[in-house]
């Protein structure tokens, strides 16, 4: 692991430097620079994500639960968002970066879009632009009561759910100040992620 890491870090730094030239080209939502850090330990690739190859699955509650179960052993941060939700899209780069930063420690990120099915192209475009190289789900039921029930949310977005390594739901964050000790949601998420990663770390 030592040798691969060093090589990995060098390649990553080079990529980052090159990529830094491209940061800021997108008008509007800020994207994190493309990175070659691969969480699963696969060989590194510099292929850009495109709307076509971004990993996106249509989901109901059962699929969501199954995916979570497959991630037992990792800390899982689920980001419920929608293309029509400005705070969601503003926060997204932070979540992507968080996932990259802690991938080796065992943080898995899952995004769940509450967009309508016919918005799938926009969802894919956004995720590709954000370099969302984790599991992305799109609800089968649009912005509806059913979606809220299937995924056990209160209905609003953004919502962040944090599961520990055993799969237990430990924290949830909306952006209502009282829901995170009157602080900032992203800081609170960072803190709880760090806490759960060190808890029972393998």
């Amino acid at each position: 692991m030592g040798v691969r890491s060093t090589q990995g870090r060098a390649a990553w730094s080079l990529m980052l430097a090159v990529a830094a030239l491209f940061v800021g080209c997108d008008a509007g939502v800020e994207s994190p620079p493309p990175t070659t850090v691969a969480a699963s330990g696969d060989e590194e690739t510099s292929a850009e994500l495109s709307p076509d190859n971004v990993a996106l699955e249509l989901a109901d509650g059962s699929l969501y639960k199954a995916k979570l179960e497959s991630l037992h052993g990792q800390v899982v941060l689920v980001d419920f968002w929608a293309t029509w939700c400005e705070p969601c899209t503003e926060n997204f780069p932070h979540i992507v970066t968080l996932g990259q930063r802690h991938a080796e420690q065992g943080l898995a990120v899952v995004s769940v879009s509450m967009d309508e099915l016919d918005s799938e192209p926009q969802v894919r475009k956004f995720l590709a632009g954000q370099n969302a190289r984790f599991l992305n789900l799109l609800t089968r039921f649009g912005a509806s009561q059913q979606s809220a029930d299937e995924f056990d949310t209160a209905g609003g977005v953004p919502l962040y759910k944090l599961y520990d390594r055993s799969g237990a739901l430990r924290y949830q964050f909306s952006q209502f100040p009282e829901d995170f000790d009157n602080g900032q949601p992203l800081e609170a998420i960072d803190a709880k992620v760090a806490e759960l990663l060190t808890e029972n770390a393998p």
């Binding site: 029509w84 649009g142 912005a143 509806s144 209160a154 209905g155 609003g156 977005v157 919502l159 924290y171």
Partner: protein
Amino acid sequence: MRSVKLLGVALTTLIAATACNAAEIEIGAKAPDFTAKGVDGKEYGLQSALKGSDAVVVCFTCNKCPVAVAYEDRFIDFAKQYADKKVQFLAINCNTSEDLAAMKQRAEEKGFPYPYAYEDSGDAARGYGARVTPHLFVVNKDGKVVYHGAFDNSTNNPTVHYVASAVDAALAGKLPEVTTTKAVGCGIRPKRQ
């Protein structure tokens, strides 16, 4: 170690309780009063709305959330339809990122037949436990909340009209069949206290 775990569990319960168990006011509880500034320059609140009304619908909404905007026509139709039944529809915006001038413009463009008022301390949202826009609370003549949640069951193809049914029930002196639903939309961002 064990005490840290216990603390973690306690904290979890607290956060889970506030974040996922409805923060909303209980059905049957007295709806809190508030003061909000209307785009017409007048002040609006629950108590003033209850005077001379047989029911009040407090609707937390905003300018920018596409879900809230998609519902505007439905709110307009509802308000017009129920105006002569002495039902007051009141739209409240608690998002501190928006402003009164933009609200005024929106109200004029759409010709809202109901007051659209700004309450930027977030106290109104806190008092009701409103977390998203749109989030609606039906208050009966006695000032009690008889329904809270979504206006209907779908942003695109609604088939169940929760608020209308709740108002009909309130006007008949009854509790509606469905008293709570999940409010789907954009999280409210009020000022931090």
